[in-house]
Subunit: 232 residues, 2 copies
DNA sequence: AATCGAAGTTAAATTTGACTGATTATTTAC
DNA sequence: GTAAATAATCAGTCAAATTTAACTTCGATT
């Protein structure tokens, strides 16, 4: 079955919101995510509900049905595979691909996406570190937390960053943070919540990053480091 | 300036029709090309005219302005570059790419298309032999004629075939005709206009092709052959 | 020059997705 | 437990692109 770009965008927005926040998503949250008005969202939710893509209770909120989730994951799969293509093959920078991928994700051709997947050699993550759902909609989830919530002294590895803010991505380029970078948290400034971190590269650099930045970087506790600690 | 997919499709249709037939295109011809109704065409022509994309005189017909032509050529450039990508990189067959390219041609990103052009190594022709307009809209035009109009005995080379009919392309695959194939016209059957041709490959094969087929294959008089004749 | 049929146009209605303004539910604060 | 604040919905419009049905215009023929 085929859906309009508008419908697909709503399903994707609901999916993203129910990932980051709670399972059940509010009308206003969707309106903000899509830069539209709550009244428009109400209209569309009625429509999606009649197509059994969402569970919608008036005034209470909305969640994806199995069917809705599988459509959303399919859009996400397409978006992220195209991002890999744009960066790896066409040599775009990672801060330039989101907008174009927003258009490409609505191209309808199952066959093309499977061929693209082969061509890209079955990537598991997009250029921002977000996992790519497989054909069946399975998605690798590793335990992560925002950099802003890591405790002092901990060593972590950058897993992913928000792909929708080009300014953030350009900033990270400039200070030398990329997917896979190892960071150590040195100090948390009480005044504004800034973090002092060491960025391990060819040489270790110390930086101060704002909460705005650290909230948008997802990290894992570094396993190698963990083992080393255990060994002691 | 940005145009809707509908506007772009109309401009492309007018462009194609004014190439194959005359400069000035009729409402009904456009309606047929786009599988829509003449009334819809009238409405759109008024709109395109107010945007200075076409010269439109009620009841008389329509032609592209310079501006309209350059938009049309840009869409054609995108369509044909994507077709090259789909065949060369993703390994689609030449009969499968038209539909998908019809969607991809509406993606908006000048930058992406120029990067795609680089990535594909500046192809001059798409998989069906149609020339790809360059950045400025210049397009290579070689003197061609439909196979159906070639005289008996002549040796010709296949330059291009219609990309919009998958059945034709599959048929050509089956009988071993591809872009660049050399054909010799043996006989024209008076009854239905069928042609008997020799297809030169690893071995030469004789075939009978219907007018439907021969009208959709564009060929050039073979140059090597011409020289050989001159030499005599 | 009157007319007939084909080609083309207008008018009115439909569909999709959005917006504005008014109204109704739900929560929160006291 | 009620009033104010917040959230969500409803009703009415709008714009784009289409369709159907009814009406013009053109031009070829008589």
């Amino acid at each position: 079955m085929d859906f309009s770009s508008a419908e697909e965008n709503y399903l994707k927005a609901i999916y993203h919101l129910s990932e980051t926040d709670s399972e059940i998503v509010s009308t206003n949250a969707i309106a903000e995510e899509l830069n539209t008005k709550p009244a428009s969202v109400s209209d569309m939710l009625k429509k999606l509900s009649s197509k059994n893509l969402v569970n919608y209770i008036r005034y209470k909120g909305v969640s994806l049905t199995e069917k809705g989730k599988s459509v959303a994951l399919w859009i996400v799969r397409k978006h992220r595979l195209w991002e890999v293509f744009l960066v790896e093959k066409l040599k775009f920078n990672w801060d330039e691909v989101h907008e174009v991928a927003e258009q490409l994700e609505h191209i309808k051709s199952r066959r093309m996406i499977e061929k693209l997947d082969v061509y890209l050699n079955f990537p598991k993550f997009d250029p921002h570190g977000d996992p790519i759902p497989d054909k069946e909609g399975n998605i690798a989830i590793l335990p992560t937390l925002p950099l802003s919530e890591v405790s002092i002294g901990e060593v972590v590895k950058v897993v992913s960053v928000s792909d929708s803010d080009a300014n953030l991505l350009q900033y990270l380029d400039k200070v030398g943070i990329s997917i896979g970078s190892e960071l150590q948290i040195v100090e948390r400034i009480a005044f504004d919540g800034s973090l002092e971190i060491n960025i391990k590269g060819s040489e270790t650099v110390s930086r101060l990053v704002s909460p705005q930045v650290s909230q948008n970087i997802l990290v894992t506790i570094d396993n190698k480091q963990k083992k080393a600690l255990k060994g002691k």
